[in-house]
Every structure is written in structure tokens, then in C-alpha cells.
Symmetry: C2
């Protein structure tokens, strides 16, 4: 068996992270303990929330220390099994490392079925982002038929699923995204009613008045910043805001300032709620079953942006903040034929 | 019957209102139509939300036009009845005018029982502010025994009731108020566990760390501004924020800015919700019954600050923004013996 390579946190980023924050180290391929699987990574997920783990501050996800191996969702092939539950050759998904190989507890992975979708989709629409969209929209956003649902980061892994589920529920759906290629994907392929390219639009509020003329009933926010400021001026009575991400602010070193929103939510009696998918863990089976069915039938579109090679994982991560990805950003670490 | 006097909106305030915004006019004492009561005002309520009605902007309460008679909650004595429901001499409460007399629809007033409390309490603890506290805390704040509940504007008409109901529900209660007299009232008479004088404290966050060492489970916000900024840094998992008022911002001419709060509510999955008491109108009977019982038994303390004379009603209103009131601010317009 070859050596393993793993990315570690070389230094904590100050503001925007760069490649100096990452160091690729040669390590040993682990031996699986009883109950564990040795998994060779096929695809690694990079996600905006990882920026928070690079900070020296307690939050929902434990902070990484300098020198720690970076972790994240992976899809991989079992190369050695010390568990009755899986055999060598099985494809699984779970939390692994930014590395070639990882030993994972068999109880903490789930099977990947290539008949349902390409394995990398298990890091996106069929993984944590898809479940975040599913529960965040349905349980926090509570869309009703006829509602106008606005999504920021709409062409991302979460937002693209949010919009499609909202359409299934009979809503008018408006997305903010950062390129014409993205907005075209939203309206032409995913069925969004309107999409706003926030990089070529100055007047977000004006754009919303056209795209969401009846106001906003549900806002699913992945971004924050000026997009969110505009949406808050258009909230309808009893509006619901699901705050899933605030990527515009993840690299801020100081607490960011902006228009105060509490004075804006009294008249519409809006409900603004922070969202973490782990709160719905007891219902992940329900989400996986429904999302899998929609994906397999082609009713739910998905896309992944692939960066090739473990050595480019930091670039893939940094690209999230530049909006390089359409759909889910993954890193291809190995291929079946290798 | 004497002439009537009524305050009208003389001009819209720009920023902080002043006496030039108000004009006291002599008008006719109205004749009650069938179903109406002619009511002589005993007490008039001035409330922060009225500032919003002076603005030329649609909101939950219709804006007043320049020249309009100002309206508000009153307690008064029926001097002439064109309804079977009330007789001359009855005390009632309802929405009247900033005036000596008003004709009110008998269906839209409720009786005042001086055996339960002094009539002016029907504009505070037994009126709209008390019901706001009751539904806002219980239905939006959802306090559980052992929770830490923080209240801004804690010595006001709403906040003082919020804190006492939270204590009844087994919570630790911390209030922000603007004078030592107010904080003493909260801790010595109302049973608050701690109170912070925000006018003599620089470090609100530090004061909260001492007063609410286990963090904040429920925040009932009447004020906004730096107090609210500090509380948002201390929200616990699943915290609830009831946004009842934002008096610190009512005189702002531009949209106020401050620390962004959406990034702060993801980790605690906090729920932040705008609150208007009118949404609970179908349950006002329940609130009145319970609040009346607690007041009559002395379990629920209340206080009113009285400004004497209809001619001083604008001063009473302006005093709200300076924090002149302890408990409910009312104006005495007439007395029984007059």
C-alpha cells in the first residue's frame, strides 16, 4: 500500500485564507481497528463552514488547531474492512479527512449507490448540502403554495436544491447568483422564475421589485451582506428567514456592520432563524429517501464542480469564496481505474 | 357641555419630535350616534409606537396625516350613552383621541373595574402593554423554567410585566433600565434577579456576563441599539428573541447601522421574531382574566407615571424617548370630582 497524504492546517487565516494556511504532509495509511473501514477517498467535499473551524473560537463545529489534519465529507471505496457491515469494493460516504486514505467507523458511514447518482452527488444533493436545503426550507422556511421564495447563493450546493424544492411546493422562486452562466442554469434548467446576477446588478432592491413584485415570504440566506439587506426591505407579513450561511462575512476579522434588521422585522412580524442541519439528524433517513427518489427520477437537477487532485484541495476551498463553483464543489482524489 | 380640545399633528417630525409637531385645537364635543358612547377622558395613553404613525410611511398602524387628530388608548367615563351596553357613569377603556371627549363605538370598548385596579392601570398592565408582555413573552419568548430571560426597557410598561411573568415561570430575569431608581424598582420590588443601569454602565457585555453568567435563553427587546448588540453576543443554543420595540431607533431618519446579527444567530440557531400584540386579539380575554387576577391579588406589581393635564400630553409623549417614565406613562385629562 502506498503512503498517505493529508492536508493539515499550517496557520490560521487572518481575513481571507490563502495557500500558506495549508500544508500537505505524508502520513501512514492507517490500519482499520475492529469495526472500522479503510477507505480510499474518491471525492472530498470542501464547504464554506470549514472557514469557521479555522478560527480559534468555539462554535458549533470544534475549531481545528494548527497542525490538525483537515476533515470533511468524503465519498470513497472500502479497501479493507474490519466490519461485517461492508466489504472491500463498497462505496461509502462519511466524514473523512483531506487525504488519500482514512479509517472510518463503519457505524458512521452510509452506502453510496451509483445506480441512484454519480458518487460525487453524495457530497452534494444527496449529502449534507441537500439535507440542509430540505430541512432548512421545509422546516424553517415553511413555504406555502403561492409564496415567493428568495434564495441567495442560489447556484450553490444548498441554494440550487432549495429553489427546486420550493418550485415543487408551488412557490415563485427567485435566486441571486454571481454569473450569467449561473443565472441561466437557475432559470433554464432548474425552473427558477427569476434569477439576479448580483455581480452585474447595482440595485438589488430594484431588481427584487421586478423579480418578486409581491414581496418576499421566505428568504433562504446563504450569503448575507448587501443582498440580504435588500431582501429585508421587502419582507411580507409573517415572512420566514432561514439563515443557513453568511459566506460574505466568513473572512471578516471584525464584527461586520450593516443596516439594522430588527427594526425591519416588527411590522411584518418576520421570523428569522439560524439553521444547522445536524438538528434534524433523526430525520436524515426521510430526507435521503425523498431526495434520492427525486434525483434518480431526474426531477431534481444537480451539478458538481470538480477540482482534480488532492494537491489542489486548498484551491477548491478558496474558490468557494470567489464563487468559482456551480452546484457542489468537490475534489477528485482518486478514480476507480487508478 | 363645555367645548372639546383635541391635539392634532401640526407637522411631521424630522428626527426627534418636539412641541412644534403638536397643535391643541378647540373642537366640538361630539354627539354619540346610535351604538356609541360619549366618553370623557380620564387618562390618555402615550406610547412609543405612535412615533411610527407620525411618519409618512405605511406600516402596521396607519400613518397620521398633518391635521389629523391624534389617537390613542384612553380610560374614561361614559357621560352619554346611545347603547344598551353601558350607562352614563360607567368607566370604559378603548381607543380614543388625545382630547377631552370622544365618541366611541360601544362594541369597541371594554369595562374598567376600579375594584381590580386604579383605572389608569387599564392603559398599562391591564391594557395593551400588559397584553403585549403576556403574549410576547409566553408565545414568542417561550420561557422554560431555569431559562435566563433578559429584558430591555425593563422598567417600562411592557418590560416590567415581562420580567414578572418570567419570574412566575421560574426564570432568571435580568433587566436593562436607565436610572438607579428604575433598577432598584426592578430588583427590590419586582423580583428581578439583576438589573443593569445602561446609562451608568459602559461595558454592557461585561455587565451581562456577571448578571447572566449562563448566557441568554430569551431576550425580550423593547429598545435595540447597543444593549441589543451586547445581548446578541451571549445567546444560548435555541435562544428566542422577541422584537417588541426598537425605541432607540424610532427617531432615526436614515436606516440605522450596527453589528450584523445574522452571522451571530447561526451557531445558537436562535429564532428572532417581530411581535405585534394585535395578532393575539382572539385571546385577549384570556390575558385580561389572568393579568386582572394577578393584579387584584397583588402578585403582579405595576406603576404608572402621570403627567397632569391634556395640555401636557405632547410632553408626556416626548418624555418616552428620554426615559422619563417608570412603568406606564399616562396623561391625566380629567378627575372624577371635577
Amino acid at each position: 500500500m502506498t503512503t498517505n497524504r493529508e492536508w493539515v492546517l499550517a496557520e490560521r487565516p487572518a481575513g481571507e485564507p490563502d495557500l500558506d494556511c495549508f500544508d500537505l504532509q505524508e502520513t501512514e495509511v492507517p490500519d482499520p481497528n475492529p469495526g472500522e473501514l479503510l477507505v480510499r477517498t474518491r471525492f472530498l467535499s470542501v464547504d464554506p463552514y470549514m472557514r469557521g473551524r479555522m478560527r480559534d473560537a468555539e462554535s458549533y463545529a470544534e475549531p481545528w488547531d494548527v497542525g490538525d489534519v483537515l476533515r470533511g465529507g468524503i465519498v470513497g471505496e472500502v479497501v479493507e474492512s474490519a466490519s461485517d457491515a461492508y466489504d472491500a469494493g463498497d462505496l461509502v460516504t462519511g466524514e473523512g479527512t483531506w487525504g488519500d486514505y482514512a479509517a472510518l467507523d463503519a457505524d458512521e458511514v452510509t452506502p453510496v449507490d451509483p445506480a441512484v447518482a454519480d458518487p460525487k452527488a453524495y457530497l452534494g444533493v444527496l449529502g449534507m448540502p441537500g439535507r440542509t436545503a430540505y430541512f432548512g426550507l421545509l422546516e424553517v422556511g415553511e413555504p406555502k403554495p403561492g409564496d415567493t421564495v428568495v434564495v441567495s447563493g442560489a447556484a450553490g450546493a444548498v441554494g440550487s436544491v432549495v429553489g427546486q424544492i420550493a418550485k415543487r411546493n408551488g412557490c415563485r422562486v427567485v435566486g441571486f447568483a454571481g454569473s450569467d452562466e449561473k443565472t441561466s442554469w437557475l432559470t433554464d434548467d432548474l425552473g427558477f422564475d427569476a434569477a439576479i446576477n448580483y455581480k452585474t446588478t447595482d440595485d438589488y432592491r430594484g431588481a427584487l421589485e421586478s423579480a418578486a413584485p409581491d414581496g418576499v415570504d421566505v428568504y433562504f440566506d446563504n450569503v448575507g451582506g448587501p443582498i440580504t439587506d435588500a431582501v429585508f426591505t421587502r419582507l411580507n407579513l409573517d415572512a420566514r428567514v432561514a439563515v443557513c450561511g453568511q459566506i460574505a462575512h466568513y473572512n471578516d476579522e471584525e464584527v461586520p456592520t450593516g443596516p439594522r434588521k430588527l427594526p425591519q422585522i416588527i411590522a411584518p412580524r418576520a421570523r428569522v432563524q439560524g439553521l444547522l442541519v445536524s438538528d434534524f439528524a433523526s430525520r436524515f433517513g426521510e430526507a435521503s429517501e425523498r431526495l434520492g427518489k427525486w434525483v434518480a427520477s431526474g426531477e431534481l437537477e444537480h451539478r458538481e464542480t470538480v477540482v482534480e487532485g488532492l494537491e489542489n484541495a486548498p484551491d477548491a476551498f478558496l474558490g468557494l469564496f470567489a464563487g468559482d463553483n456551480i452546484g457542489k464543489q468537490v475534489v477528485r482524489v482518486s478514480s476507480p481505474a487508478e
